[in-house]
């Protein structure tokens, strides 16, 4: 099985690559359209802001390619948000592969932004990506923008209000948290993705 990591400039690419290596998969880091199209699985990592993230995909000429992929695709953190329709962060039009908006967390007393740390995962819809996920399982989040709950939500989490932790639409999937930094729970979800 070939797995590629789309090199869109995010600083967590190394961490995601190491996490896959721990699962026995050596993922190639690439921005080459042919290599991405030919892969069995495509992962779009990402840390940073939505505007520069989309600009980087445009510079690399990968926007239309991403939209036409038919194999399982996983966006992680900002990568997940780039799969969505649009983001409030810099009023950015995203890839539009999952028909969800991305909104900023509203600061409130006791609600610090960024949302940073381990939070509980609550399954909303069964999906092969979630095999073995338990109700007490937690994952590590670091983000200031989030996807609201909708038809696309497979898993939600709570921070002031419920938001999407795992989303999916057709062959496109996203995880708001960092599976590469979520210990055994993250490894389980990455393994599930590799089996899709």
């Amino acid at each position: 099985m070939s797995v590629v990591l789309v090199d869109a400039g995010g600083t967590n690419i190394g961490s995601v690559r190491y996490a896959l290596q721990r699962l026995g998969v050596d993922a190639a880091l690439t921005a080459d359209a042919a290599a991405i199209r030919a892969a069995d699985k495509v992962i779009l990592p990402g840390v940073g802001a939505a505007g520069p993230g989309m600009a980087r995909l445009r510079e690399l000429g990968l926007v239309e390619l991403m939209r036409t992929l038919t194999q399982p695709v996983l966006g992680v953190c900002l990568g997940m948000q780039l799969l969505c329709a649009d983001s409030e962060e810099g009023d950015t039009a995203c890839l539009g592969l999952i028909p969800a908006p991305v909104r900023r967390f509203v600061e409130a007393p006791g609600l610090r932004v960024p949302h940073m740390g381990w939070n509980q995962l609550r399954t909303q819809q069964p999906h092969p990506l979630l095999a073995g996920l338990g109700d007490d399982d937690q994952a590590y989040f670091v983000h200031s923008y989030a996807v609201p709950v909708g038809d696309w939500s497979l898993v939600t989490s709570d921070y002031g209000e419920a938001f999407s932790a795992v989303i999916a639409c057709d062959n496109f999937h996203g995880m708001q948290f960092h599976p590469e930094r979520s210990a055994a729970v993250g490894a389980k979800l990455l393994r599930n993705f590799l089996k899709l």
Binding site: T11, N12, G14, S15, Y18, A19, Q21, R22, V47, G48, A49, E107, G110, R112, V113, P114, H115, M116, G117, W118, N119, Q120, D136, Q138, Y140, V142, H143, S144, D158, Y159, H178, E180, R181, S182, A183, A184, G186, A187
Partner: protein, 256 residues
């Protein structure tokens, strides 16, 4: 619900984990990767590595061990130590660190915080503050605390600096309360509670943990997001699994 974080801190000096009392008299505690793996297995929520020799010596952190840690560790970790530029921060983040923490270099040149936040987003940028109470009862910032012969007392008040750091783009604040550090008599709840009132981003308590109750008090009374400790974990005086079960029983949201 967001869990409160238990964060072992590994002070790194010349490639080894060390610990001193009141930031002085360092003794070697073990190898970096061995200790990192041990804490990951015990259920630590995050790790912080401080290269305590980096800032006083005016050099950047050695990156070799950052990559070695990133390969084996599947929990988040933060690296601190003499990061003075966007390029140095990028190198550490690309080696696999999740966050970088700046302390003395941000005091030298506060615009560093703005530059790091613009380059990587506020979520990657932690500002560490070493704070000590002066004779006039005000808390003020200390610089270059990694080397007692070079440590400087600044005129800058801790709370003023905390406010400025947030305005410039700090995504998290670690408050090292030097008066309680290494004493194992509890976190400085008075200072942390006052800091909490002005801290809109995650606040991490540091300095003084000696017993499980000290963690409970920091979370419940000072409302901090995470609690950092070193010697009580390195020595085995507090085992992380037992600590987390105790906190859970005390009603603290925790990852078990």
């Amino acid at each position: 619900m967001l869990s409160r974080r238990i964060i072992p801190c590994l002070d790194v000096r010349d490639g080894k984990v060390v610990k001193g009392v009141r930031f002085r008299d360092h003794v070697v505690m073990g190898e970096i990767v061995d200790l990192a793996l041990r804490y990951r297995d015990e259920g630590a929520d995050e790790l912080v590595f401080y290269d305590i020799t980096a800032s006083p010596e005016g050099r950047s952190v050695d990156r070799g061990w950052v990559e070695r840690v990133a390969r084996v560790i599947d929990i988040p970790f933060c690296v601190a130590g003499g990061i003075r530029s966007v390029d140095e921060a990028r190198a550490v983040l690309h080696a696999g660190a999740d966050k970088i923490s700046v302390n003395s270099p941000a005091l030298e040149r506060p615009a560093l915080i703005d530059e790091l936040a613009a380059a990587f987003g506020v979520q990657c940028v932690v500002v560490g503050i070493d704070s000590l109470r002066d004779a006039d009862d005000a808390w003020r910032v200390r610089q270059y605390t990694g080397d007692p012969t070079k440590t400087q007392a600044l005129a800058r008040k801790t709370l003023d600096w905390m406010t400025e750091a947030q305005q410039r783009g700090a995504g998290e604040i670690v408050l090292n309360c030097m008066g309680s550090d290494g004493m194992r008599q509890g976190y400085d709840l008075e200072q942390l509670s006052i800091a909490r009132e002005i801290c809109q981003v995650p606040l991490i308590a540091s300095g003084g943990a000696g017993a499980p109750k000290h963690f409970r008090d920091a979370f419940i009374e000072a409302d901090v997001d995470g609690a950092l400790a070193a010697s009580v974990f390195h020595s085995g005086a507090i085992a992380i699994p037992a600590l987390k079960h105790y906190l859970h029983e005390q009603g603290v949201a925790i990852r078990l």
